[in-house]
Point group: C2
């Protein structure tokens, strides 16, 4: 476009700046200036048109404010759109922040949507046996709490959590109530930790494979994610990662690890802690499955209990042992960390709803929680055994291999024949069964041939039916898409 | 320190790198190198010591990983601490992120802590008359929901909210359920909006004075805050701010504004919207007080209802009309915005606890909510009148002036005699009454002589008693700290 053609009337009622805005706007309208065109610098245009530089600066700013121009520092000012008609709906897309753009991954939500779809048998999300939920006790305790403590339920509550629940959790976790922070679900804990400790560009070392919610949270915080193979559990490898990346924190799930089921031995725990202390790397111990041991004695002590340096943030939830709908999680850490996290929590949702906190506190205090856990373990063991038997019956090892978990909620499986979990998931969904495909547990591109089955959330009959459906879609997929021989080999 | 004195054994079992680490560590230990000392560049030290540059780089890295050195891009590498003994507690302070450092303001939490302190008569936090809460109905509906929908209560819930509540809110707000997002308290909405739309350095224009939670949230997101005097409500001024700052959004509370009580007229609403559309500035309409009108007919329609361009995010809560303990808020916006916010909400706490959602939905559907609102308005009017009368009786205008609010929960007051709200608050707290001092409603340094009294949360007798205590501390403060005549003048 030839800017020299623009004419200005110095004795017009309209300001020069207004005339320039109008002239540029109609040039964009007529597409004399098309999207992407770089405008002259303010100084150059001012010189060419014999206007003051301020006039041009103000005109560019107004056009920017109206979304027609966009300036990029060091690159100049560009035409970015034609003016929209006055009644066009607002273009929200251009308004989204860098953080929100990192948040566009709906993997977790989709997992949940599938699980809420009653047409499907879901082995996808990690949910305990809801049939064991002590509904009658729960209703009775709600009545009791509303009768005795309605002020605490209806009024403002402390951001750190209701005192009786902090006390009950502290007693169980071997710490003091001031070191416990109640969370509106354990996902909130991950988010708070990320907001408290991670600046964009920081590195986080985490289990590989590991919990999808942690991967998403730390990624959304702009962290660089570096996986550590938890099953191999090689501490030299971890030390190399510490040295090479100087990470801001280590995130790990050392007890019935999600998705692999791995349990760190006491010795591995001590070695890991020693390393973390040596390199001053905070450890986030995600520990939702501690109470879900199925066979033998309880697992070794938590990293938090073994820690003598306040370097561990212990993090857990009632979602895997009571019900995810309660939205109750908690963490234990040094008082300084609890205080910092509480300040951020206040900004997220002020405080956690009080009724369920007080009910669960009473549930723990009265011993009902321990009774419930014993019952839940028996039912989970039954379901695990049924899934194990169903898998053995319907899915020979050439199709799918797995280890029998000793706790947690999952079978972590590897597909044979080079089959891919994501393809299988499509076929399986059509056949009425869903699971979690392996990719979502990796921050990199791995996991194509793995998958996770939650054994705890379905009744034994539904488990049998679901595994049958899975086997049928797996076999039909195998027949239809049989891969060539060479690509089979690495999958054995 | 004289680095040339460092000696290295080339045929030692220890690596050169290990020897350098040890030498520097003991120099720091002995305080030959003190905290803040700048080390030579890696290249310079390598040349001086005749080591390879890689050796020096690796040594610096290890010492950094162990927290003894800190490097700043472009400035060099500095000694940051002496090595701590192996059993010293972990130094969390140095690990906190830039975001967390912006979150260190405990104003809102302190306001709440004061309100939870039963020794104090609190006019501080904005809470409705909890005595009006329909506890019997609420208990009955909890029973009903647990009987009829325990799966929805215990299982995973949709991030966007329970369908019956989205439907009930949409009907009331004049929109469609897909455009409603349920929030775990309205504070969550502000946080989600900030995370979705604000990058650090963006400008937000907001009411001045305005809601403390919004100020804190946008500040914590790294936004530059620019106040607009909502009471004057000058649209030319707002246009100047749009032009000058090109803000990312406008946050306003146009109906019974917190803290001033201002209600925008229909015409002001239309003008404001026209301006926002012209400059393409998204509008966050915070609207928690709409149903709290006390005298005349309901207030004019919401900006959201008047908006024809999808430019408004409407945002509200049940905390100001039912009870803050429920932790239930909601927003209405275009489907694209709801979707973006839901993805971030999923990262914050997956979904909102379901029981209270379903109970409130049934409460709205059955008509009980409207009955409750009518009752609440009558009680609030009674409390407002009582506070108005108490203020008139105990605090003559030379001490404190105020306007009688027509809705909302607050008296916005100005102190006479140059008295400062923050000083008064100290005296008042000692006398057993608290309020919100004016400064917290300003993003800049103003508000020293203003204060906000919530009239809704205390019974009429407690209001009378609280105002008496306030008057006593105000008068005693005035006698003790009477300022000189010239500083009195501007406060009249």
């Amino acid at each position: 476009m030839n800017y020299a053609k623009l004419k200005f009337k110095r004795n017009d009622a309209r300001s020069l700046y207004g005339q320039l805005v109008e002239a540029l706007e109609s040039a964009i309208e007529r597409e004399d200036l098309t999207a992407g065109t770089r405008l002259p610098s303010e100084r150059a245009l001012a010189a060419q048109l014999k206007l003051s530089r301020t006039t041009v600066v103000n005109a560019y700013r107004e056009l920017e404010a109206r979304g027609l121009l966009r300036s990029h520092v060091g690159r100049g000012t560009f035409v970015c759109a034609r003016p929209e008609p006055a009644d066009a709906p607002f273009a929200w897309r251009g308004k989204v922040s860098a953080f929100a753009q990192l948040n566009a991954d709906p993997a977790l939500r989709n997992l949940h949507l599938d699980t809420m779809n009653s047409r499907l048998i879901s082995f996808a999300a990690g949910i305990p046996a809801i049939e064991c939920f002590p509904l009658a006790d729960y209703r009775r305790l709600i009545e009791q709490v509303l009768r005795e403590s309605s002020d605490a339920v209806l009024g403002l509550g402390p951001t750190e959590g209701q005192a009786p629940l902090r006390k009950a959790i502290a007693a169980r976790a071997g710490t003091r109530p001031e070191r416990v922070l109640i969370l509106s679900g354990s996902q909130q804990g991950l988010d708070l930790i990320a907001r408290c400790l991670i600046d964009a560009g920081d590195t986080v070392v985490l289990d590989r494979p590991g919990y999808v919610g942690a991967i998403q949270t730390f990624r959304a915080a702009g962290a660089k994610l570096v996986g550590w193979d938890t099953v191999r559990g090689d501490l030299d490898e971890l030390e190399d990662l510490f040295l090479r990346y100087r990470p801001k924190l280590l995130y790990t799930n050392p007890t019935f690890q999600n998705p692999t089921g791995k349990v760190f031995s006491l010795r591995e725990r001590r070695d890991l802690l020693r390393l973390a202390v040596r390199y001053r790397i905070p450890v986030v111990e995600d520990d939702p499955y501690r109470e879900t041991y199925l066979d033998a004695a309880p697992p070794p002590p938590t990293l938090y209990e073994l820690d003598e340096h306040n370097i561990v943030i212990h993090h857990s939830t009632f979602s895997k042992v009571l019900a995810p709908g309660l939205r109750l999680g908690w963490l234990a850490a040094s008082e300084y960390v609890v205080d910092q996290l509480a300040l951020i929590k206040q900004r997220e949702n002020l405080f956690t709803e009080g009724l369920s906190q007080l009910v669960v506190a009473e549930f723990m205090r009265s011993g009902l929680f321990d009774e419930h856990l014993a019952k839940l373990r028996r039912e989970h063991a039954r379901r695990r055994d049924r899934m194990s038997a169903s898998l053995a019956e319907h899915l020979p090892a050439k199709f799918l291999t797995h280890a029998r978990p000793k706790g947690g909620l999952y079978f972590w499986c590897r597909l044979g024949h080079g089959l891919k979990g994501r393809q299988l998931l499509q076929q399986a969904t059509a056949a009425g069964v869903v699971f979690a495909n392996g990719e979502i547990f990796y921050a990199d591109e791995a996991g194509a041939h793995e998958l996770r089955l939650c054994f705890a959330s379905q009744t034994p009959d539904r488990i049998e039916e679901g595994i049958k459906r899975l086997a049928a879609s797996l076999k039909s997929g195998h027949e239809r898409d049989a891969p060539r021989e060479e690509s089979l080999m690495p999958m054995v």
